[in-house]
Symmetry: C2
Subunit: 355 residues, 2 copies
């Protein structure tokens, strides 16, 4: 605490990202990174962007990337907003659309940054409990609100909700924005982008960090009605004119140009996830039906915290959340087949040693 901090800075409880340890080499299954490198075309585009033009500001409206994403999803460029990772896009959206007068609704178990954004913008948050199967109880969102955020699939539960549930929610909340955070949608879900054409209050947020293997480059985007995109641009342009640098723009554009690579690597992650889920169930774990690039697991006899610590000792990092309702679960990112074999072998050893 410092006398120089504003009331805002003093009151904030910052988000804590998954650890990025520097002490030794781990098998990293803790931050939902893609096990496969970015497309070779992306790497080539970055090398080409390493030129004298870097002395010049990037395009503040990111037109080329916006058009590329609009074409890819079949929407107009005026319906696309891009930012420095989907975290930044989400932050701008909390500022642009959510009304401090009424509570913002999101699940009790979800991406923990949502409540930090709410604090940042002076918003009240109301947490809606997931049901006992960790599914989103859409009917409980039918209450007074200043806006709604829902990830699909949800994290860390990995569970996908059907598009019709979102359609109903959007129809029943015509005066408020419903934000659908699709960070993991490319691993087997159906995107709500099609709902954007029906509902002016739908905002779909995605990222290139997971399915496009570009966590290290920081590009996210939102698709919505023109009035929502204009609102995002108003907030962004009151904060930072140039959020995406020239290299990131080039990399992101190249990523959308290599559809075969994208399909191949996401499909591979899905196959590995399904195989790992099967083996985990055979080992006695409860495993939710994942449509993401991670699995959410618990063991009936061994505490998640114990598993987390013993895996760490064996050089394998997974994510443990010390919070109510999920403190006996682990979130495990899907690595390569080899990494998952190493993880499953280590887990088998830990389970066997406890018998």
């Amino acid at each position: 605490m410092s006398k120089y901090w504003s009331p805002l800075a003093a009151s904030l409880v910052p988000y804590v990202p998954g650890e990025q340890p520097k002490d030794k080499k781990y098998i990293k299954l803790n931050t939902n990174e893609n096990p496969y490198p970015p497309s070779p075309k992306v790497l080539e585009a970055i090398r080409e962007a390493a030129n004298a033009d870097l002395r010049l500001y990037p395009d503040p409206t990111c037109d080329a990337l916006v058009r590329k994403i609009a074409d890819y999803y079949g929407v107009r460029p005026e319906q696309v907003f891009v930012g420095n990772g989907s975290d930044e896009v989400l932050a701008f959206a909390f500022g642009a659309f959510f009304d401090p007068a009424d509570p913002i609704l999101f699940p009790d178990i979800t991406y923990s940054f949502y409540k930090v954004y709410a604090e940042f913008f002076g918003l009240k948050a109301e947490l809606i409990p997931l049901d006992e199967r960790f599914e989103v109880p859409f009917e409980l969102f039918d209450r007074e609100n200043g806006g709604i955020v829902l990830p699909n699939p949800n994290a860390p539960t990995a569970i996908l909700a059907p598009l019709d549930a979102f359609r109903g929610l959007l129809a029943r909340n015509p005066d408020h924005v419903v934000m659908i955070d699709e960070a993991y949608i490319d691993f087997g879900g159906q995107s709500a982008v099609e709902l954007v054409k029906e509902f002016p209050n739908a905002l779909v947020v995605q990222t290139l960090s997971k399915s496009r293997s570009l966590a290290g480059i920081r590009v996210g985007f939102a698709i919505g009605s023109e009035e929502l995109i204009e609102g995002l641009n108003r907030v962004k342009n009151s904060f930072n004119s140039y959020t995406l640098d020239r290299v990131a723009l080039a990399a992101a554009i190249a990523s959308f140009d290599d559809e075969v690579y994208f399909r191949t690597t996401t499909e591979r992650v899905i196959l590995t996830r399904e195989a790992a889920s099967d083996k985990l169930r055979q080992m006695g774990f409860e495993v939710t039906d994942s449509r993401a690039n991670f699995v959410f697991i618990s063991h009936p006899a061994i505490a998640a915290k114990t598993l987390f610590e013993q895996l760490r000792e064996k050089g394998i990092l997974v994510r443990y959340f010390n919070q109510p309702r999920i403190d006996n679960h682990l979130r495990v990112s899907i690595g390569t087949d080899e990494e998952m074999d190493a993880f499953l072998t280590a887990l088998q050893e830990i389970v066997a040693a406890r018998r």
Copy 2:
């Protein structure tokens, strides 16, 4: 206007950056970019960073770059904060330190983003008029305030204030943060970084966009006491965990490793500025004493708006501000000697045609 916009989004008046026209090739002297490319070592570092590791998140605390900057300026790593361009650093600083209870002070003629940041964070702003020579009247800043922002050199005036004036201001405001925006300091000014060692309320903000030719990469930083840096990190980590991507980090580090290139290119810009200033004065222009990479000029007989428009027709872009007190001035970035010759020749033609 949309019913979905928050009160914040509806009230904002976003910043408008200098134009980045796409219609044709201009001699661009309007956004204070460096005429020289980034160091070849920077470009090489970017090419090397184009590798499989881009699938992984960057270091959220940017340790390697923070240490590099700390070493360069002779401060501790705990005294350095880095961000996605100095605009983002300034935005976080407005949020972290400025008190909504009292007005934030900055000059009436200065970087126009300051008043946008103030609105974004719900702060009151009080504009202190520069004197008739466009110098900062430091004594007028001795009034109740919730914080002070001053650029040095100021923009668009290009005028440098002496470090002792800042020392006095810091000493007379022990309870409030004084932010010194040194975007242009490397072109002939003396940095206030040394004051950070004396004053816990001093925050110095710099950018790699101008003197290090990296406007296209978006890296800025702040140096201050540990408590100020902690405040910045609290706000940043409540907004976006990963503001700097892996490529930008690599580029920024390499930039600080090539001191010879940095010195050579900034010195060249200074020499070109001095030569251009002399010629402009010979042509009858009033030219402030610039310590930046731009000059601030006016002609006794020809309106700045006319000059701006006629230069544009001749393919040369400069910055014209349609605002009180400076609407008869132009801000002209320092280009290469060849670009400045083209600018001066065009200007000469315009002046001659009016006689």
